[in-house]
């Protein structure tokens, strides 16, 4: 079968112990049976391991940090498309998505780069700070949570919430606090890293189960695979996991994707309580780093996303295999200083 040749730009090449989804997304794309993908890696740091993975990433360009804003990002992308055509771009970091969503129309009309992202409104709806409203709107249980900007507000919350409480950053990080002292210390820790606001969330006990899913933006869930972490790192990231067969979890996940008309990849994080209730903890607006497990279970989500970005109709996946495991490993790449120099000084390799 003749495969169609396309170029896909991918961010999230930080395949470290707390990995970005870029490399797993690329592996999915490279395994497509219908498209032959050239990968343009987009990096933020010079030591992102994906930059040096020549078997997966064909060319790399550095991007300005998300804090530089969407205008600078667009300028950089203009330069990149002057060097080579980009058919589809898949951003994989929470922090950069706002900029990409803002310029997604311009990318298509001016630079002919297709993306497959949600609208700003839907993106904002599932923000951690808005999770309560999100749960009410789409009929899914969520833990009680509050956004705070001052440490003293924790004292006020103690009137209605009891310890343990979860102290979370707006993008990443979550700490379980058993007392005010712990909560205030975590508050400052989170502020120093992620800024304001800080989210204080009710602690729901149970088993964490996660779903990687993809929606077509028209109210259809194209694919969803459930996973339970079997082994986690000290940062709480999955080092190993197994795909589950859980009809109720799938039903809830599909409902969220369909009712929110989610467009693109996402990760749903749930707690399953002993009473078999599911609480949505977070909806991450991009593929998780374990998205390659979906591929291993028979659902190639990155490939489906690329096809939808190119305007093709994609049929929803009917099922997937449970009992498939992923087990991560670390691997030392040997890189000559000249290559590091190239990306450091020229911003591309």
């Amino acid at each position: 079968m003749n495969k169609r040749k396309i170029t896909v730009a991918v961010t999230g090449l930080n395949n470290i112990d707390s990995p970005g989804p870029g490399i797993p997304v690329i592996r999915g794309l490279k395994e497509s049976e219908t498209i032959d993908v050239r990968i343009v890696g987009l990096s933020y740091e010079t030591l992102e391991p994906g930059i040096y993975m020549h078997n997966l990433v064909d060319k790399v360009y550095q991007l300005p940090l998300p804090t530089a804003g969407s205008t600078v990002l667009k300028e950089r992308l203009k330069y990149i498309v002057s060097q080579e055509k980009i058919d589809v771009l898949i951003p994989n970091f929470d922090a950069e998505l706002h900029n990409f969503i803002k310029i997604q129309e311009d990318l298509k009309s001016e630079l002919n780069i297709a993306t497959f992202l949600p609208s700003q409104a839907i993106f904002d709806e599932r923000q951690k700070s808005e999770l309560g409203k999100f749960g009410d709107k789409y009929g899914v249980k969520v833990p009680k949570s509050h956004m705070i900007n001052q440490v003293l507000e924790i004292r006020k919350l103690e009137e209605t919430m009891s310890y343990p409480l979860v102290i979370k950053g707006r993008y990443y990080d979550a700490y379980i606090a058993l007392s005010y002292e712990q909560a205030s210390s975590y508050f400052y820790k989170v502020v120093a890293k992620w800024g304001y606001p800080v989210i204080v969330q009710e602690f729901v006990t149970g088993t964490e189960v996660n779903v990687t899913a993809i929606g077509d933006g028209k109210g259809n869930c194209i694919g969803a695979v459930a996973m339970r972490k079997l082994y986690i790192t000290d940062k709480g990231k999955a080092w190993s996991g197994i795909s589950l067969e859980d009809d109720e979890l799938m039903k809830i996940s599909r409902k969220i994707i369909e009712n929110s008309q989610w467009r693109g990849g996402c990760e749903l994080e749930f707690i399953k309580t002993k009473k078999d209730e599911y609480y949505l903890l977070e909806m991450n607006p991009r593929f998780p780093a374990w998205v390659y497990l979906a591929n291993g279970c028979g659902q190639n989500h990155p490939e489906a996303l690329v096809k939808m970005a190119l305007g093709e109709e994609v049929q929803p996946f009917a099922d997937y295999q449970s009992g498939k495991m992923f087990i991560r490993y670390s691997y030392d790449q040997i890189v000559d200083i000249s290559e590091f120099q190239q990306i450091s000084t020229m911003g591309e390799r």
């Binding site: 088993t207 996973m227 996991g241 795909s243 589950l244 067969e245 859980d246 009992g323």
Partner: protein, 81 residues
């Protein structure tokens, strides 16, 4: 009492619960009981077979079977339906 839907049991006693992602290993006696449950045998029949197979008195067979069944229930491997 029966084994929950979709529980995978291999001949060498490896059990996988796709609902929870848990996996277990059981010994020969465990496989014997699970196989009987899978075949839809009643508790009375399992006790009788258990006594015959391992030359047990009623008290020991009932006690061991109940212990094992409560463990299976605890791990969500069997249901009362």
């Amino acid at each position: 009492m029966r084994i929950r839907k979709n529980i995978a049991i291999s001949e060498n006693g490896f059990i996988f619960n796709p609902l929870t992602g848990d996996s277990f290993s059981v010994n020969e006696t465990g496989i014997f009981i699970i196989q009987k449950l899978k075949d839809g045998e009643s508790e009375e029949t399992i006790i009788r077979n258990f006594m015959d197979e391992y030359e047990l008195d009623t008290y020991t067979a009932e006690k061991d079977l109940n212990d094992f069944l409560s463990m299976l229930q605890n791990y969500q491997l069997i249901t009362n339906e």
